[in-house]
């Protein structure tokens, strides 16, 4: 069977390509993790030129080249010790990220579940118009929405408080769009059966719609969380007081200062999202899959 043999060779080639590509994708993360177990001096020797060796003492060796080093000379937890116990700044900024991201994610998803339920039951013209406004808002980049957000924050004296970021974040319509796409596909017969059994409207929401959309809700929660965990634009504009800045903004300055700790801080910062990913990957994929296709 010539054709089958050809097919098999092709599959082998594709497999090799796929593995190579996959390694490229995972590499930055692996490097960050591996390098976080190096000693501070090893980091400085390897990456010292990133911050300019002029500031270094003469007696420490700084390589001219910056090489990504894969295997540490000596595995230590000294970087983590530095991050967790000796430099309270990082933990404080980490906590700032938590204070911003957790309330936004939580309330945005609750509001989105409620709104999506409202949109998917009893479709009507006014609802369709409101939903279309949401879609337009959803595609607007921060370069557009931050201006009105800033005006409101300024008017109500929220500038330089976390509320200036949390409140607009809660009402961002992205998750409404994704969850209602899934809710609209729930067959009406489920609702009618529940009504015959005497379920109230609220029970139909909590006992039927929410469980049926579980993976969509989990996946939206993860996507919203990572989006705000990554935030840079909003704090730069809303928070002049840099002590309130989240770690995502602060990390951009780390290579000019504490390069010896940069990798460990990076790892600490990715722990919540990576754990989420490992725990909820199947739900994430299922949720993304459901959301595919522009028509609900």
């Amino acid at each position: 069977m010539d054709k089958r043999k050809k097919e098999k060779t092709l599959n082998t080639i594709v497999f090799i390509f796929a593995v190579a590509a996959a390694l490229l994708f995972i590499m930055p993360t692996i490097f960050t993790v591996v390098n976080s177990f190096m000693t501070t001096s090893e980091i400085k020797a390897n990456y010292g030129t990133l911050i300019g060796s002029a500031s270094e003492k003469k007696d420490t060796f700084v390589s001219k080249n910056v090489n990504l080093k894969f295997i540490p000379d000596k595995v230590t937890f000294s970087q983590y010790e530095g991050v967790l116990f000796r430099s309270p700044d990082y933990l404080l900024k980490f906590w700032n990220s938590v204070l911003l991201t957790v309330p936004i994610t939580l309330f945005q998803v609750v509001i989105a579940v409620l709104s999506s339920y409202g949109f998917s039951r009893h479709p009507s013209k006014p609802k369709a118009i409101i939903f279309f406004v949401y879609v337009i808002l959803m595609i607007m980049p921060y370069q557009v929405t931050l201006v009105p957000n800033y005006l409101v924050a300024d008017k109500f004296g929220l500038l330089d408080t976390r509320w200036s970021i949390i409140l607009p974040g809660i009402f961002s319509p992205f998750s409404v769009y994704l969850i209602s796409k899934v809710m609209r596909r729930i067959p009406i017969s489920y609702v009618e059966a529940a009504k015959l059994d005497g379920a109230s409207e609220f029970q139909i929401l909590t006992k039927i719609f929410v469980p049926l959309c579980k993976s969509a809700i989990i996946s939206v929660t993860m996507l919203v969380f990572i989006d705000y965990w990554n935030m840079v634009e909003q704090p730069l504009i809303m928070l002049k007081d840099t002590t309130m800045h989240p770690l995502s903004v602060f990390l951009s300055q780390i290579n000019t200062g504490d390069i010896g700790l940069a990798f460990a801080v990076g790892v600490v910062y990715m722990v919540p999202t990576v754990l989420m990913f490992l725990y909820g990957e199947d739900d994430l994929v299922e949720g993304i899959t459901y959301a595919g296709g522009i028509k609900g």
Binding site: K64, N65, V66, L68, I139, P148, L251, I288, G292
Partner: protein
């Protein structure tokens, strides 16, 4: 879908569910945006004199604005189509009978859940003047470039954009490919149609709604590239990396509400036009598929 019969109480409940979200959207986005439109047509916040399009004209003559718009547009025009094409290729690869599919999927998807800030130092090391890429290049006789400061700096952010977004798009295309009817492909196989023919004449037509969806998502995400640029280069990048968000940030600092408002309104209009084009395309292709 069958229309749902319902009493008034149910209808009121469904509107009550929308209300909290709607009030927030009105308060934080819609109403203030109306004020932004108003601000874009007055001369200054004290006199409130209507000046028509003067602010817009001034904006369009502003060099920094033009530079930022061009850089952002250039980035999106390259990164968005690339991300569509490459993620279709990834999805086609994982569609074949190869081992460890689910592990490969995890690897491709993982950058989505890794904060950019965590790994930004790796990118800096890769593209540094004496960094990994240049050292590999030197072996093959290329002269090193300081990528981050060079005119080629956009290559780095395109790479970072693709790294982060391909996995998500790939999942969408994988599910679209799974939806291509098997019998059509079998018939094509029997009639001796090649794989390329099958892809371009059959699969691509079933992928087209997903392509529109991925295009919209990618355009939205491409405007978030400022994060990567900021993390890489801080407040003051080279002029090739000066994005619209840099322009907005600087205008925020100088509190020039008129310029800021005009820029926001202009940008919003462009986005609405882009969305309209994409939705129209989707409608045309969607009809095509139903025939």
């Amino acid at each position: 879908m069958k229309k749902e019969k319902g009493n008034l109480k149910e209808r009121i409940f469904s509107y009550a569910c929308i209300l909290p979200g709607l009030l927030g959207v009105l308060a934080f986005f819609v109403v203030p945006f109306a004020i932004v439109v108003y601000y874009s047509t007055i001369n200054n916040p004290i006199l409130h004199e209507y000046v028509g399009l003067v602010n817009y004209k001034a904006l369009l003559q502003n060099t920094a604005f033009k530079q930022a718009t061009w850089n952002s547009a250039y980035f999106s025009l390259i990164a968005v189509p690339l991300s569509v094409i490459l993620s279709i290729i990834l999805a086609l690869m994982l569609e074949r009978k190869i081992p460890y599919k689910s592990a490969l999927r995890t690897f491709f998807l993982s950058p989505l859940m890794v904060p950019t800030a965590s790994v930004v130092i790796v990118w800096q090391v890769l593209f540094h003047n004496h960094g990994t890429i240049n050292q590999i290049g030197e072996i093959f006789g290329f002269e090193g470039v300081d990528w981050i400061k060079s005119p080629h700096g956009q290559i780095i952010i395109i790479a970072m954009f693709l790294w982060k977004n391909l996995g998500y798009n790939m999942i969408l295309f994988m599910s679209a490919l799974a939806g291509v009817p098997k019998d059509i492909l079998e018939v094509a196989d029997l009639e001796g149609a090649g794989k390329l023919y099958q892809f371009f004449r059959i699969k691509l037509r079933y992928l087209s709604p997903t392509i529109v969806f991925v295009l919209i998502l990618s355009i939205i995400n491409s405007f978030k590239i400022f994060r990567e640029v900021y993390l890489l280069t801080g407040d003051h990048p080279v002029s090739k990396m000066y994005m619209l968000q840099h322009f907005m940030n600087n205008t925020f600092k100088s509190l020039d509400y008129q310029k800021l408002s005009a820029a926001a309104v202009l940008f919003a209009l462009v986005m609405i036009v882009v969305l309209a084009i994409l939705l129209t395309t989707d409608r045309i292709f969607g009809k095509d598929l139903e025939d």
